[in-house]
Amino acid sequence: MKLTTLTLAAALIGGAAWAAETAPKDVVFAEGGAIEVSLTGVAGDPVEGANVLSKRSLGNCVACHQVSALADVPFHGEIGPALDGAGDRWSEAELRGLVANAKMTFEGTMMPAFYKVDGYIRPGDAFTGKAPEAPLSPLLTAQQIEDVVAFLATLKE
């Protein structure tokens, strides 16, 4: 009995959390690739966003992009454009679209989609080289996307 109550309570809490978050398959891209609405409804944290950009195990954005504001992080790549001034060049909605799935803005871009779970060729279980045993998770969570967008918005020339 007690267990049932607890489970029910957990389900309600879980349900509320899910309701506020847009799942990868439900994301609506505007013409041109922007995402107008926050994926979580919770304001992004730019400090955590910088962490996501820097960490190999998270976004690892600096693997391809130079970011002067993250000069203390070693080895910035030169594959994509430098992100300095991104907050001037793009609106928050455009930044959200670029981080979630840049292919909606730039057709054929090399940049991986960080908030997408299907449409892949031979997707694997992370970096194991094996087929996945469960549905794929997006590369970043909805809140991590919002955090990255919040950080990018601070990059003004």
Binding site: R56, C64, H76, E78
Partner: protein, 283 residues
């Protein structure tokens, strides 16, 4: 258009910070006598996708480059020396060693690696050097097949490759191998895995650029088997393919699989004109 413009701006911004840009101009001569072509005109079938082709050696640091310039410094030669003994050692039910049919490796294997993978008429299939070695072991020697990308096979493959050092890679792409070559080409441009990356994304569109701390080469395989400082052993080319595809967060293919045989044929052909360089040294 917008993207191109951004890329151009990025290049200007990035320039002062870049540690290296593109391949260097160093020339590779091994043991002071074997001239290795590490830069040459791209083969016609690349159709302008690359105008010049470069060995991965050109993208490495002076220290790493030096290890390949002298066989006494090349850490891959330890395995090659072991393979040299195996060449002369009888194995299997038929009482034969490699040398029983092929005599001295320095004579019989000259030029062999340069044309592999190639069509085997009797078997009706494209064969890699490793497949041919295992066919010799099982059907002629009555010996156990070696693991495709295992240490014994990779060492033997390095010993054989070494006999062609300095000779140009010259893999056939038409005739009976054409279907496999087309398959390999399609794989080269397929964006695998959750990161949706093809071979071409890094090695055709971004060679010379840094991706985090790695300096991207053209992904040429003329230097395989390759001794990697990263894992301190000789690496088979299919093992490298496996790792690359795994790193796109994909379900990778198996060493020795028909897919990797086709990919090896295609990627080898992109290096037609470079010298055979194996066993090379990379990081």
């Amino acid at each position: 258009m917008r993207f191109k413009a951004m890329t151009a701006i990025a290049a200007l911004v990035a320039a002062p910070l870049a540690v290296m840009a593109g391949p260097d101009d160093d020339e590779l001569v091994i043991n002071g006598e074997i001239n290795i072509v590490t830069k040459t005109a791209a083969p016609a079938h690349l159709d302008g996708a690359l105008t010049e082709i470069y060995s991965g050696w050109r993208f490495r640091s002076d220290e790493t480059q030096a290890l390949e310039m002298d066989d006494f410094e090349n850490p891959g030669m330890v395995a090659v020396d072991a393979a040299r003994e195996v060449w002369d050692t009888v194995d299997g039910s038929e009482g034969k060693a490699c040398a029983s049919c092929h005599n001295a490796v320095e004579d019989s294997m000259v030029g062999v690696k340069a044309v592999y993978p190639k069509w085997n008429e009797g078997a009706g299939e494209v064969r890699t050097l490793e497949m041919q070695v295992n066919d010799c072991r099982t059907s002629r020697m009555g010996a156990e097949a070696w693991k495709y990308e295992g240490g014994e096979m990779t060492a033997m493959s390095a010993l054989i490759a070494m006999q062609s050092r300095g000779l140009p890679v010259n893999v056939a792409i038409d005739g009976p191998v054409q279907t496999a070559w087309e398959q390999g080409k399609e794989m080269y441009y397929t964006r695998y895995g959750q990161l949706e990356l093809s071979c071409a994304n890094c090695h055709e569109d971004n060679w010379g650029n840094m991706i985090r701390a790695d300096h991207l080469s053209q992904g040429q395989i003329n230097g395989f088997p390759t001794y990697r400082l990263k894992n301190t052993k000789l690496n088979a080319v299919h093992d490298r393919f496996k790792g690359c595809i795994r790193d796109t967060r994909a379900e990778t293919f198996k060493p020795g699989s028909p897919e990797f045989v086709a990919l090896e044929l295609y990627v080898a052909s992109r290096g037609n004109g470079l010298s055979v360089e194996g066993p090379s040294v990379r990081n």
